[in-house]
């Protein structure tokens, strides 16, 4: 008991609180990326390897729009719309011909798409990282840190986007089409729902969400052509831990994993903190292979 209480007293409380805030901010962005991924998976049975590249593409388009107009908010909306269009085009060109084939083909196709996108961006923009300035300079005092309000704003905005998306799924006409298609593709088609259009729309929405999170996240780190790789891996972990195709589970898993990772960085190097999420994944696969936040299937 003595050792335990000693450990608890030795915990740096201020650091813990700072890392909790950091973890929630990172978790909300991750949730935004992962909810697009899980939406695409849940409805189309497509594991979108190119999701990280759509995130990266969003950040780059944000860089261009900020450079041209100087407005961050215009960049956020513009990037989401443009990447939605790109996503729709990609879906029509590469995924639509694969409908009805083994779903493994779609992993390969989206992997190809991700290679092409990544190298196109490398070719156009070069290997140097770009920056988007923070739209909000203000900060507040958190212990000994000047904590930027912008980070809090990111978390709030991500929550708003996810929330409005959920409302759209629940009450919007297209949202109801999406849910119907997810439940029973054949029946939905029989009821007159244009399933191919739903597929393209879902991919576009997922792409827009990835792009929005790319723009939101860009001020915190540089924008580079490899920034998508880390995110797509993390998003995969989140989606598996949360239960594939389960929106609520993904959001919970995103915050859970980000919190664990940011606590781990108190003790270890950030590049090693990733191992924590890997361990969570392994434990999930061992004991709850359908996902941590899903009711055990009977």
């Amino acid at each position: 008991m003595d050792a335990v209480s000693h450990f608890i007293h030795a915990l740096p409380l201020d650091l813990l609180i700072i890392q909790t805030v950091n973890g929630i901010v990172a978790g909300m962005i991750l949730a935004l990326v992962a909810s697009g991924l899980t939406l695409i998976f849940g409805i189309m049975d497509v594991v979108n390897f190119a999701h990280g590249e759509l995130f990266m593409l969003g950040a780059y388009i944000g860089v261009i729009i900020v450079a041209a107009t100087g407005s961050f908010w215009l960049a956020l909306i513009g990037a989401a719309l443009i990447v939605a269009l790109i996503g729709a085009a990609l879906q029509i060109a590469t995924l639509r011909p694969l409908i009805g084939r083994d779903p493994l083909n779609t992993i390969l196709a989206t992997f190809g798409v991700s290679l092409v996108l990544q190298n196109l961006v490398l070719w156009w923009f070069g290997p140097t990282a770009r920056r988007i300035p923070e739209p909000l300079g203000a900060s507040f005092t958190l212990f000994y840190l000047q904590y930027p309000w912008y980070r809090i704003l990111i978390a709030a905005l991500s929550a708003v986007i996810i929330g409005s998306f959920w409302l759209f799924l629940k009450y919007g006409k297209f949202g109801i089409w999406i849910r119907a298609t997810a439940q029973d593709r054949v029946m939905a088609q029989a009821m007159g729902i244009p399933v191919p259009l739903v597929y393209t729309g879902v991919f576009a929405i997922g792409a827009a969400m990835a792009a929005a999170s790319g723009v939101l996240f860009a001020p915190l780190v540089g924008v580079s052509h490899t920034m998508g790789l880390d995110w797509v891996l993390k998003a995969f972990i989140v989606v598996v831990v949360g239960g594939m195709g389960n929106l609520g589970g993904s959001i919970a898993a995103a915050i859970f994993i980000s919190l664990l990772e940011s606590y781990a960085t108190i003790w270890v190097d950030p590049s090693q903190a990733v191992i924590v999420s890997f361990v969570v994944l392994i434990l999930t696969l061992l004991f709850r292979p359908t996902g941590l936040f899903v009711a055990t299937p009977k």
Partner: protein
């Protein structure tokens, strides 16, 4: 008039060759070409061909999973990399560097990684298997990348090449020609072993898992155990490719453990034709040739993966069987 079976009408009559004969004649012809190649090719192309064979071995090892067991592995970079670092460890730690010790250590490393991956990921199917193998390979990548005192971290390891040493028979420095023959011998041996494995009763069970897992289980096969063995076998051969690559290039770098290497492996498979064993080697050759051609035509700065990625996507849509897909049945007979 009695009907004559069609093949008896052929002017060759009884000269008609059986499938086995044709197969082995073709095999010997290709082998003869590959053995003679380093004698006529200039240095650059000699090394190029050797590397194609090494990448081909890596791709062939993953074909056992993709083409025969029906599981797409996105984690072969882990086995390849562990083979590479295992060989590097043996070559650095023990002097004078010994070829067979390097191979032993490399295979042990790859087997360890394969055991780990096989144990956890074979519980899962399809997409889940692909994602978990990918994430496992990233675990090894992070460990190798951050454990600088042992693995050299970002810089990797540099070491000297062992002698080509066959106990009591031969002991000399590797030249690019003997290196090629050595790699060719290992790759050919691996091909013959893998071909034997896929045609054995064990291989038949793997193929039946690919076709219908539930039914295979219902017949009474311990599907998980078969999958585990096939992942481990595949990992061993991938590790062998890593050892060869380490000996050929005298360095080990964390980049090879990164999952893009696994992606390349899958691309070689799809381009060449899965489920054929030789197809992935052809795919690796096609990929490397295109890459070289493209960077000659468009300059070194041009990212060759743009056109190659487009070719890859087009092939998935229109030619999912790959270059050798048309011969799949024949090659497996």
């Amino acid at each position: 008039m009695t009907s004559v079976p069609l093949d008896k009408v052929s002017p060759l009559g009884k000269m008609r060759l059986s499938h086995t004969t044709v197969f082995w004649i073709g095999f010997c012809a290709v082998m003869a070409l590959l053995i003679a190649a380093p004698l006529v090719l200039p240095e650059f192309w000699r090394r190029f061909l050797t590397e194609i064979l090494i990448w081909g071995l890596l791709a062939m090892s993953s074909d056992l999973l993709i083409g025969y067991t029906g599981m797409i592995s996105f984690g072969h970079s882990a086995f390849f990399g562990l083979g590479m670092y295992g060989a590097a460890g043996a070559l650095i730690a023990f002097g004078p560097p010994n070829l067979w010790l390097a191979m032993l250590f490399g295979l042990a490393g790859a087997a360890g990684a394969a055991l780990f991956v096989a144990f956890f990921s074979t519980r899962l199917r399809d997409i889940y298997f692909a994602i978990t193998t990918l994430i496992f390979s990233q675990i090894f990548y992070v460990i190798i990348f951050t454990w600088t005192p042992v693995t050299g971290g970002e810089n990797g390891l540099i070491f000297s090449r062992p002698h080509l040493w066959i106990p009591l028979l031969y002991d000399a420095r590797f030249t690019s020609t003997t290196m090629h023959w050595f790699v060719l011998a290992v790759v050919t041996g691996s091909y013959l072993v893998l071909r034997r494995v896929t045609q054995s009763p064990f291989g038949m069970v793997l193929q039946s898992i690919r076709e219908n897992e539930a039914r295979t289980r219902a017949i009474g096969y311990a599907v998980e155990r078969y999958k585990m063995v096939s992942v481990m076998l595949s990992g061993l051969f991938a590790g062998l490719a890593g050892v060869l690559y380490a000996i050929q290039n005298q360095f080990a770098a964390p980049d090879f453990v990164y999952f893009l290497t696994s992606g390349d492996t899958v691309i070689f498979n799809v381009m060449g034709g899965i489920g054929t064993l030789v197809g992935p080697i052809v795919g690796a050759g096609f990929f490397q040739l295109m890459r070289d051609l493209l960077s000659r035509m468009l300059g070194d700065q041009f990212p060759y993966l743009i056109p190659l990625g487009v070719i890859f996507i087009v092939m998935i849509i229109f030619l999912p069987q790959g270059i050798l897909g048309f011969a799949r049945r024949w090659l497996n007979k």
